[in-house]
């Protein structure tokens, strides 16, 4: 039985993003950031999709939102751009150096940057927190 596609993707994405850029360092979190997380950090979570049914065997089209959270608009933008540079069009069928390994059961064959996520969160004392990122569609097939 193959590993659940979403779990394979979550693990692979963490490996790719964790420590990949000094702007976020090892502050990469699936689904929700812990209370002690300091800024800046990356957050990724399921937004849509699942089994693609393009073929009879298992396959998947999963959309995740990956966003940077920072109290600096400039840093949030830089982080989002860095994530895009790491991931967009970096599937196994798109480059010889694919970005995300979903081994052993899955291949991430294509990664597509989608809609922008842009959000300003206002806190007391005129503190602004910026959320900046994109949705990404991950097309996956069994390895």
């Amino acid at each position: 039985m193959a590993e659940r596609a979403l779990w394979a993707l979550y693990q692979g994405l963490f490996t790719t993003l964790n420590g990949a850029n000094s702007l976020w360092g090892d502050q990469v979190y699936p689904d929700a950031a812990p209370a002690w997380a300091g800024q800046d950090y990356l957050l990724y979570f399921w937004t849509g999709g699942g089994e693609a049914n393009d073929v009879v065997e298992q396959d998947a089209r999963i959309t995740l939102t990956i966003k940077a959270v920072s109290d600096s608009l400039e840093d949030a933008m830089k982080m989002a751009a860095a994530v895009a540079a790491l991931l967009n069009d970096k599937g196994t069928q798109e480059t010889t150096t694919p970005a995300v390994s979903a081994a052993p059961d899955w291949l991430v064959t294509a990664i597509t940057q989608g809609r922008i996520v842009h959000l300003l969160e206002k806190f007391s004392d005129a503190v602004n927190v910026y959320h900046e990122g994109n949705s990404y569609e991950f097309i996956m097939g069994l390895a």
Partner: protein, 139 residues
């Protein structure tokens, strides 16, 4: 008694099982009409059965690791022995086996939206079926 909704088919082209690559397969049998109208004062056309024929639509997904194995089976103009089982190749279940001629292929077609790439194959029966599903043929 449930209707049939499975996508688990059995499809063999020239001894190669391509069931796993199938995204769509359909067979369309037909029979030509023969006008047998005769007799004085006839007011309505009488139609008799002519020759049977089948046309096939087969869509196969493009699997990079395997495409070299099956692309030659769907070459336009190729005569291919096809075996089709809409309920797999389970004994007693419908079976159609016939030599078919590949008439045309649409694909592989790629698009910027990264849709699933496939071959859409049109074929036509090239000989009397070895096993005719529509005459009760089974595995």
């Amino acid at each position: 008694m449930p209707a049939h909704n499975s996508n688990k088919v059995y499809l063999v082209l020239d001894s190669m099982d391509v069931s796993g690559f199938m995204t769509e397969v359909g067979i369309k049998p037909s029979n030509t009409d023969v006008d047998i109208s005769a007799g004085a004062g006839l007011e309505h056309e009488q139609t008799g059965a002519g020759l049977d024929s089948t046309s096939w639509d087969i869509s196969l997904a493009y699997f990079p690791e395997a495409v070299a194995d099956y692309i030659t089976k769907i070459r336009h103009g190729a005569l291919v022995m096809a075996i089709y089982g809409p309920e797999m190749n389970v004994p007693g279940k419908p079976k159609h086996q016939q030599l078919i001629k590949i008439s045309s292929i649409d694909g592989p077609k790629l698009d910027v939206k990264k849709g699933a790439v496939m071959f859409k194959v049109s074929a036509k029966g090239a000989d009397t079926p070895v096993v005719d599903m529509f005459r009760g043929g089974t595995f």
